[in-house]
């Protein structure tokens, strides 16, 4: 009896691992095909749909600015409050600027940006492509000899790979401004001195590692959103399910990618 249960557990774990690996494989396949159409295709007479990429960039990037600004401004403020709690005991309130600047640009800027983009765009990709799948529009593209990856996925990849680092820089700035609000109100900074202290505490590699991560987040979010859309089954209810799955899986994978890259940067000596 016990042996049977153990066997069942093992086989379930095995099936789960196989499924997860197959999923990652599907993501990698979709990602590499999109990368082909983005970076190689244009030199082989398959021009990228730049107009579509531009309108995607507008949707993914520019339209996200208000909500992203608000969230990261608050996050910066929260970070300042939290670090002041400890730093004030040490009498080192002047380090608040450094704490906020470092944690924003190395970690929270890229991560919060990714989460906002997952909620706005990753889910939208899955819903858009999923609806097209249900209404046979994806099949129609195939039958017209137009690759859905070329037509739909590649412009999204390009837009996300360009816009996520841009949004991240914006998020870092807004976070630092949020911290500055506390710095000016509670820690005897002037706005100018706070910003100068922030800039002085940052090295290029701090910002760069955050930006590299954000590009990887963009690739991950697009791959998951589009793959979930493309593998939607029949029916409107499936579109909803695909959208939810896209959000949940994107958040999980973004955190995993974050961990992997933070680890790589740490062991490369940038930590």
């Amino acid at each position: 009896m016990v042996a049977e249960n153990v066997m069942e557990l093992v086989s379930q774990i095995g099936a789960g691992v196989t499924d997860s690996l197959a999923y990652l494989g599907a993501l990698a396949t979709l990602g590499s095909r999109a990368a082909y159409y983005t970076f190689v295709g244009p030199f082989q007479g398959k021009p990228l749909r730049l107009q579509s990429a531009a309108s995607q960039a507008m949707e993914v990037g520019v339209r996200a600015l208000p909500i992203l600004s608000l969230i990261t401004f608050f996050i910066g403020l929260i970070l300042a409050l939290q670090s002041a709690y400890e730093l004030s005991k040490l009498g080192a309130m002047n380090l608040v600027a450094k704490a906020v600047a470092l944690s924003m640009s190395r970690e929270l800027g890229p991560l919060i940006t990714a989460i906002v983009v997952i909620g706005r765009s990753g889910s939208a990709f899955a819903a858009e492509i999923g609806t097209m799948k249900v209404t046979e529009e994806i099949d129609a593209l195939e039958v017209m000899a137009i690759s859905p990856v070329h037509f739909l996925v590649a412009p999204k990849f390009l837009a996300m790979m360009v816009m996520l680092p841009c949004l991240t820089i914006w998020a870092n700035t807004m976070g630092i401004l949020g911290g500055a609000l506390f710095g000016v109100a509670q820690a005897d900074f002037t706005l100018g001195r706070y910003i100068q202290a922030s800039i002085e505490s940052l090295y290029v590699r701090d910002i760069l590692s955050g930006l590299i991560k954000s590009v990887m987040f963009g690739v991950t979010i697009t791959a998951v959103g589009c793959l979930e859309g493309l593998s939607t089954g029949g029916g409107a209810e499936q579109v909803g399910r695909a959208t939810t799955r896209a959000v949940v899986i994107s958040i999980l994978l973004v955190v995993v990618v974050d961990l992997v890259f933070t680890g790589i940067f740490f062991f490369l000596g940038n930590g």
Binding site: E136, V143, M144, A145
Partner: protein, 276 residues
Amino acid sequence: MDREHPNLSEPRVVISLRDLRVSYGEREILHGIQFDVMAGETLVILGGSGSGKSTLLRTLVGLEKPSSGQIWINGQDIAAISNDELYEIRKKTGMSFQGGALFGSMTVGENVALPLREHTKLEDSTIEIMLRLKLEQVGLAGFEYHMPSQLSGGMKKRAAVARALAMDPEILFFDEPSAGLDPIIAAGIDHLILELKKAFHMTIIVVTHELASAFLIADRMVLIDKGNIVAIGTTEEMRRSVQPRVRQFLDRVPEPDVEGELDYLQTLTEQYRRHG
């Protein structure tokens, strides 16, 4: 009418299926389908719901991969060729989907122009003229700036036909052309298919379960049931057929879904118990 057209004096096989089997997972849907389609003929694939006729059409255009067998289109087995080669064949075929499958984010004109923009190097002004011509052919002149959501069901189907015609295909596939349309609009679509047949001598393959429409447009018919071919022949041959399954389908005899009287009673009582 075949004799009137010089190209068709010698019938040429355009599509040829050999022992085609298709499975979804463990379940086999088509059990060895085999028939030929001649150039310029209109072949109607008839069958009830769940007969496998839609799967057959999806396999013919390469949307489903067969588990075994061959699909020869103009001498190439599309089950065995690369994706690029399949795309080359697809440029010479057109398909009109059941719901139209027009891209909701584009105008009707952009929908029709899409294959031309993607596959040809024609000037915008030339494409403009061509898309107007195609829309005129399907009776939708002047609708190029409408969005698909502004069109009625029948107009959507016409627009989908215009898009399928954009590349001047040799073979045209129709999935349930009259499904979901009222009889008058459906008859309009039938006449459109007849007009295309007369004007372009295209090879047309139609999947449908509408008998009236099938007998009106078909040169030959294939009746499919549970993944097997039941009968194949001209409309006359089908009409005169004495095969029980063909008669049942053509005479619209309902399927006896319970075995004996006792079973029937049992089903009834169960239904009462369930629904009160």
